[in-house]
Symmetry: C3
Subunit: 370 residues, 3 copies
């Protein structure tokens, strides 16, 4: 059987209108293979009290990528999907780091291309989807889907930028996931189990503290009806307790309401690292997206900080405009201002700022999808 | 000239029905370019006397890959073929190691994607095929083609898993090969010369022991008629003699007969490393594949060991089932049991076992091709 | 919108007929996405006074590559183009080194695939093209476009092989470029600004000598009418001054005239490195390409040397033949002879030669494009 290759140029525009929704796939009724990608480059400028930086950056609106994905319908509502997606840097052509075992030691270099963004194969039917491989973790969805800036560029929400969530905060490898099917009266959700793939000694020697490093789970349950949606997610990743790390627990909640002239969104986030001296990070986001014809005004306020000495915390205000030439091509501009307190020294766009000083960031870019 | 891009979704099913056959290409009569790939992920569990491991693995039925290949017909039976094939790990999206000069020093890291599986360009006519680049070595074919498990997953034959064949046991880079054309009354064959690409001093200084490291040849001649096929192959790769390595000579023979209700296969393998204290490894395989409608029962018994002190040897029994949803999509399960003797401590699926103890491995996976 | 994927098999033949021309893109009037590539492998042999080398090489006629590129017409002459192009080695399947920040420290390993050749996104209209990303620098064009051997293989011009131009001599990352539109009465040109992306301390501490490392510009202006073309280019890349490096200034000029039975070309090149003890390299090339039906005889004489002690200089004579089976497929053979003087010890194709001795190189290869 030879199947037709298509190019999906329209999916990006839809995801750009951020939405609280399921990330599972509907039952498959036809077969296709699709080549897709995004090339997004921006001139980015960051200023801080100590140093500034000008650069050509990548993915300030949507991360640059290319990939192959496809469906095969097997009849009776049963189907298979695969999805291979590689990130790259549009400013220099290099790749983006991945992680092979969900631990700091498994991080790969960012110089070269791999399917770091997603490598999955799924079986899907009316009962839902079972997905195997590397993918976003459920806990990430409530950061991405309620952030008008989609966690990208200088406007990315602070609960994303500052998260204590560790190597699995955004994606995990070696994962088995189950997604609820669509059409459950508005309910959507997923559960994921991922493995660090350490060897399991029998009996476990006491000298093997990393026996379960990188093992964990993530789950999310949500409800959407009309323009309203809310979702709750939770995750735990195991790491042997030390001065600098330990089991990481994250919970968050995101909600959004589409008034038509304004899509309002918000989220609350808490990450706890069970180090020898535990640390907890908390934050929230309030965002809005205002359609202007086919264009978009984006605005958000977000904050994230920890309970370490001084209670360091950063607060960001961001505003931007997306000018859509077409569904595939947009020009965008973003301005963000970051304030620090409690000894925090967060800085935007590669700049450096002293503790408790502020920083500014600017993106002016072009995103093209294919 | 613009040529049509096609997707080849059917070639995998054919290769899955293992066959003793030529690996050269028939004369080219039309032009096309094809995007192809396999995504294969499995939950794999291995147990040994010392430690067990659970993982999401990749390619336990057929190695995950993507690639581009194409033909151009030049008229009069003359044609050109190219084949670019990159392996990847479906569990984490990373790449698979290759080798740039056929020596241990030339091994590349497995984190990122390269065309490690095959990068070739060929000229083909009625006299056969000349193929340049990186490809399987001839010696590998008698391991792959007679193994019901295709050298993959927990069921992979011991003569493949334990081979002393060194860096060129499976593939070689910098290779010039010639393949006999089809239609020679059942005869098929290939010869290959590959280069380590060391610099050749003139006159060669005595202090340059690695002058020819990674240079070598491989050859194979076979005969197939009706359901019967047999093939003999041989290879030599040069390495400077030391305590741990030296010239590697391999010979093997594979045969198969298709009874219709059962495809029976067998192989015998011998690899000799001319170290300061030479070592020879020998093994054999007996395998069977039983079609059950469009599905397949696979079973094999194989053994490989060396003449080192104690005569270490491992013996594997493997049985599995492949359920074909379609030509593109299959679910498979494999069980394998490994016994060790003479001090061998082979273990399955990442587990650890003590010398002379046994190990078990289990794969449960999904393979989708495009 | 779903756009059709095409394969561009014809662009290579055109570029193989080297031409002094604009490298900007004409206004876009239709939308397409194209998969393209070249697989080029050769048996290459080099001899020198000290050592010889035989290898399977890659890209001795045109560098092996694959990529995706596409256009979107936005109406009114406005359009967007993207171009992602990854180099690879056809002899072993590995990738080709890139550079993330235009400095020696930013060089990436060559083992794995990245879009090292080009990663750009452009906006184009009747006023010209603005191009963002990694691409050739303008200074490189007068080396490539007047060299009958296109800077590839044993015949590559010495001003290319020996250039002192540093990391941005051929390509730069983090670049913003502007290209004149076509149709300016024969004038063509481009200006490029590229960034090393070092952080800019404020005030800049005296202990940060690499503040601007890898920043620079390149520009080119040319004029072509009938069979005649001439172009002038210039570039500067900033590096902190030391014993081994400093700001690099390059200027060159290339010209060509097509007599029909012969295309004659020439170039003059000067590169200056403002080290503590400055060094200047100069060279020139005279080349010719003689069509023989659809085939091509290529010949060139080139020289490059520096003003360092002894005035080391290498001189190359190269001659070759390209036999075109079709627009996509060619077989080629090249012979080159290199002479050294002033202590230079340049050698061809991986061989080694003593100072002031000569070296020979031979390529016999196959190039296929898709």
């Amino acid at each position: 059987m030879r199947v037709k290759l298509t190019l999906a140029a329209n999916f990006v525009f839809v995801s750009a209108a951020f939405a609280q929704s399921s990330t599972g796939q509907a039952p498959i009724t036809s077969s296709s293979v699709t080549l897709f990608g995004i090339v997004d480059a921006a001139v980015t400028y960051g200023t801080g009290s100590d140093a500034s930086k000008t650069q050509l950056s990548t993915g300030a609106y949507q991360p640059s990528r290319f990939g192959f994905r496809g469906n095969e319908a097997l009849g009776g509502g049963l189907g298979v999907n695969f999805w291979l997606e590689a990130g790259f840097n549009a400013d220099d052509g290099s790749g983006v780091a991945g992680n092979t075992n969900n631990t700091p030691a498994g991080a790969t270099s960012g110089d070269f291309i791999s399917f770091n963004r997603r490598a999955t194969v799924s079986v899907i039917d009316i009962w839902g989807e079972v997905r195997l491989g590397r993918d976003f973790t459920a806990i990430y969805r409530n950061r991405e889907q309620v952030d008008p800036f989609g966690t990208n560029g200088v406007g990315a929400s602070q609960p994303h930028v500052g998260t204590l969530g560790g190597p699995t905060a955004t994606r995990a490898s070696n994962m088995v996931g189950y997604f609820l099917p669509p059409g459950l009266g508005g309910f959507f959700g997923e559960v994921q189990y991922f493995m660090g793939e350490s060897i399991q000694y029998s009996p476990a020697p006491i000298t093997t503290p990393n026996l379960k490093d990188g093992n964990g789970y993530a789950a999310r349950i949500g409800y959407g009806i009309g323009g309203f949606a809310v979702a709750l997610s939770s995750s735990e990743t195991k790491f042997a307790r030390s001065d600098t790390t330990g089991d990481i627990n994250s919970v968050n909640v995101g909600a959004s309401y589409d008034f038509g002239f304004l899509k309002l969104s918000g989220g609350y986030y808490r990450d706890k690292v069970d180090r020898i001296v535990p640390v907890t990070g908390t934050g929230y986001l309030v965002g809005g997206a205002i359609p202007v014809g086919v264009d978009l005004v984006r605005v958000s306020y977000s904050t994230y900080g920890t309970d370490e000495a001084g209670s360091p915390r950063s607060r960001k205000f961001a505003i931007g405009y997306v000018y859509n030439f077409s569904k595939r091509t947009a020009v965008y501009a973003t301005y963000a201002h970051l304030d620090n307190s409690g000894g925090a020294s967060g800085a935007l766009a590669g700049s450096l700022t002293a503790p408790d000083r502020s920083s500014n960031g600017y993106d002016l870019g072009l995103r093209h999808s294919f």
